[in-house]
Symmetry: C2
Subunit: 341 residues, 2 copies
């Protein structure tokens, strides 16, 4: 019985035949394995080159269980934070010979779970989860091994997993302190969804700083990580006649929405209202925004996540999670230039 389903690609058998050696020898050469005599090695390599042979990762995956594929879970690539993260992840992954599949979860647990199941079936080596929120245990359980997983950006509730996050609380506190020092006494904080640890930490930092100044009033609103959340919270506050003089968005996108709300109302930034955000997205430094923000080292976050993940995948002995907290830094720009006093 001859199967005609053959693809046009050269196989290891072709190489072996052409080189007059056995398949195993070719395999050894390809994998840089043990002793192969220099002579045969060279001959095989020549044949490989002339035939343009490339080992099939699929066949390899079937026997090794490794696909050289990583997944990056994000909530929404439309938030400019994620493309920047992706670039860092992609670079590090590509360098190690891994491809990366991007999955948008929209911060929905079911969506994430479905993706994981499908990817597991398709054969995925590891997962970088940038938008953790709810059912992390389910996730770990599905994945079957904490080694295959690194959380990024949002600190997970589950223990025993590796993660790379920013020092959100301290960053937020230092931003808030800056505003307080500039004389602001009523500051609005537009937070994120309650399941997002980074949002909570930033809110905590905000309160930390506000509590240090007697008489300072904190306004807090929250919603999804979107422009609209910033816009609506700001409009509501403004409509209600609340006399705050500064607004902090839980990220730059929310801060942008806040700016829109301010401008739509005919007010100016920073003369009438200071605005600040988080992430230091590319856009923040633009002359059209000049947005003060707490910068995260997104590139480090991405590349470290990959390094940690690949390290865990490699090591077969017992596993200890790596948990890193990256320092954040305050970038002050014109959106918080005005002084109150």
């Amino acid at each position: 019985v001859t199967t005609l389903r053959r693809s046009n690609a050269t196989t290891i058998a072709d190489v072996a035949a052409a080189a007059g050696v056995s398949i195993s020898t070719v395999s050894r050469v390809v994998r840089d394995d043990n002793d192969v005599s220099p002579a045969t090695r060279e001959k095989v390599q020549d044949v490989i080159a002339s035939l343009g042979y490339r080992p099939s990762s699929i066949a390899r995956a079937l026997v090794s269980g490794q696909t050289q594929i990583l997944a990056l879970f994000v909530s929404d690539l439309t938030n400019p934070f994620y493309p920047q993260l992706f670039k860092a992840v992609e670079r590090a992954a590509a360098q190690a010979g891994y491809a990366v599949i991007v999955c948008s979860t929209d911060d929905d647990d079911d969506t994430a779970a479905h993706y994981v199941e499908r990817l597991l079936q398709q054969g995925l080596d590891g997962l970088i989860y940038a938008s953790s929120g709810g059912e992390e245990d389910t996730l770990v359980e599905l994945l079957g091994d904490p080694r295959r997983l690194v959380f990024v950006n949002r600190r997970p509730k589950v223990t025993g997993c590796s993660f790379v996050v920013s020092d959100n609380r301290a960053g937020s506190a230092s931003l808030t302190r800056h505003l307080l020092q500039n004389g602001h006494r009523m500051i609005g904080f537009i937070g994120g969804p309650s399941f997002a640890a980074n949002a909570n930490e930033r809110l905590d930092g905000f309160h930390d700083a506000m509590r240090e100044v007697p008489g300072a009033t904190a306004l807090v609103s929250s919603g999804p990580f979107s422009k609209d959340t910033g816009l609506k919270a700001t409009s509501n506050w403004l409509k209600a006649g609340l006399p705050m003089t500064a607004i902090i968005g839980v990220n730059d996108t929310v801060a942008l929405g806040a700016m829109e709300g301010i401008l739509d109302r005919g007010l100016r930034v920073p003369e009438d209202m200071s605005v600040a955000g988080f992430d230091n997205v590319d856009l923040a430094s633009s002359s059209v925004l000049r947005l003060s923000t707490v910068a995260q080292d997104i590139a480090a976050m991405g590349s470290q996540a990959v390094q940690i993940l690949l390290g865990q995948l490699r090591r077969k002995d017992r596993f200890a999670p790596t948990q890193v907290i990256l320092p954040s830094s305050l970038h002050l720009r014109q959106s918080t230039d005005a002084r109150r006093e």
Copy 2:
């Protein structure tokens, strides 16, 4: 010889054993194949459910040659056009059971070629190329079959391939005509790199419209699709004292850069200078920009590309490329509100 490399996953053999049927019967049930008696089918399905069996895509791929993996090539995910495109592609792909690998080419042919080689080795069913530029023939050759490829966003130079692009020339012309009607007589066009067909088409459309008005003066500059290109071109023109009253960016990012250049110079948009772009990126509608722009139907572009690609992959008979040109539409906002006369 017993291999102990077994992964913890349930295999088709486990199911067969547990259900007391042969492997092929299980395979038939899984694939919804021909006649299996309702009784056995149900029994097998029960066992599958209770064992949590999931067929290995890798093993499947080895025999079928299909991995259910698509790739999306973009130049730079940091340009907000691409995340929007990705979302459309991802949705359509996921619906059909495909995962999508994103690759950033930075508009570099070598990078793209390397990615293709690696992906081919890893087993990739099809490719959506959103940032075509140079060596398309090499690409098609590498891929081995035009069926596996759909160009998007930029029309390829090679013939015989499917693509989905926007009606860039007409869109650009209608935008330009609008500016001319508003009294602008010296208009700057900041274009993209020469290898990008969409940039060239937009420039052509600009010239089409400008030529219709005697005495209208066209200023043209170009560079990569980046904010910086817009910023620099604008600064140069302004510094040179050129009396243009409107600037068109080849995309919204370039237009944003132009805005920055104008603001940095202490000028206002639109009072001193009208600005317009292309793509209608989410940010364009923001109150901080209110950028007039030629909108592309990005969602349609992405989903149609996937449909076409999957259709081509499915059909094994002879192949005829599908080439679609999506209409673009003018979105006028405040950035072009000022009238000259």
